[in-house]
Amino acid sequence: MASLGALPLAAVGEVGKGFIHERTSETLPCQATSKFFCWDWAKEHLISRYETPTFQHLELVVISVAVGFVVAFALALLAHRYRWLQPPLLAGTGVLFTIPSVAFFFLLLPFTGRGRDTAIIALTAYTLQIIYRNTIIGLANVPSSVKDAARGMGLTERQTLWKVELPLALPEIFAGLQIATVSTVAIATLAAFAHGGGLGEPILREGISFKTNLIIAGGIAFLIAVSCGLLLYAIQRFLTPWRRAAAV
């Protein structure tokens, strides 16, 4: 039994409206030629068509990662203090991570509907496990002799956490942040399904036949992801001079 939704996007326009638009006169010249990549078209339309999606995309990522970091970091600090919290939190964030974002968007449908907020909630949930796990592991890897010395010298528990444990856990925490950011940039292309905007929107709108569009939109997303990864890596190296010194 073939479902009516089986038509590929190339045949768009024959099924009802939904969120898929028809080919416009703007895109036709490039699409009709079915060339691999139309440089001229790209140069002409780059800013006008991709500026907004790019900014939307960045907005989605920044908000999701920021909120995800704050929440996951706070949870990790709690679980570091109260060890019994660790298994349930690990399992909980794990579930949120495993559920495909597309499904997550629509699980939220009855509660938050479609739109940017739904996308942000789902993307945030996705980042939680990575950041939480890395923070916990980073804190656990601090040598116990250093903690013993800190306590014995007269640092309070709070001072030990903020002056000793967290700085030493910084590389792990940053690695988690880096992974979360890169992954979120990639996944945020799916936000278009939830009407959340972002670089997935041009792709969904035009369909798979418009290769130039795919390359541009996907390419921008990829570049953003890679640059964010490198930037965060550079920041981490800058913040941990003692690691550079030791690598002698």
């Binding site: 939704g5 939904g18 997550f104 449908l109 890169v182 292309t189 997935g200 996907g218 990864g229």
Partner: protein
Amino acid sequence: MTGPVLSHPVFASIQGAIEFIFTPQTSNVTGGKTVGGIDQVIELALTQLELTALAMAAALIVALPIGLYLGHRGTGELFAIAMGNLGRAIPELALIAFMAALIGVGVLNLTIALAVLGVPPILANSFVGIHQVDRASVDAARGIGMSEFEILRKVEIPLAIPTIFAGIRGAAVAIVATATIAPIAGVLTLGDFIINQNVYGDNGVLAGAILVALLALVIEFSLAGLQRRLTSKGLRLKAT
């Protein structure tokens, strides 16, 4: 007391979704054709599982040997790490659409696209897992006369299971997630309910979301269980 609570729109939606899963409905768009029902659900679910399984198998066959070998030799670290990072940066939607445009639609072609997504995490994590095995254990194994392959099989892999499986599970998550949107490239999976909302209606969308989530969790739990079976007792006792 329960009256007002249960009549909240959320519960109505869930009820509608459950109905959709089990009994065929009339679609308002297609003029009389039926959608939904348990048969369609199973068909689409199986397609998604098939896609996932094929892609995972392909990714494992390609990535695992390379990652294990490089990790054992200790070379190619930059390559493996870069692979892992770049792989994470690939936008799923663009990948599916682009692959479909490039090599055409169909299950086999899509499998290749999904396998591409699965290779980086498996390769990177296998490398790191093997590479980070305590050198002392490896030296001892070599010292008592194990061949290189035996060392890999009997010492390094067992010790690296947690890290390797983290990579496998990461790959599974990415593949399942992308298989969900396979319908835009012509392969019908459970994601069809979600994507083609105009055909299946809001009930269908919610049903699809629930089904996809459940499927993903089932796969994840299976892998977790497999990992636990394969992890030696000594390692399990150590990991808290």
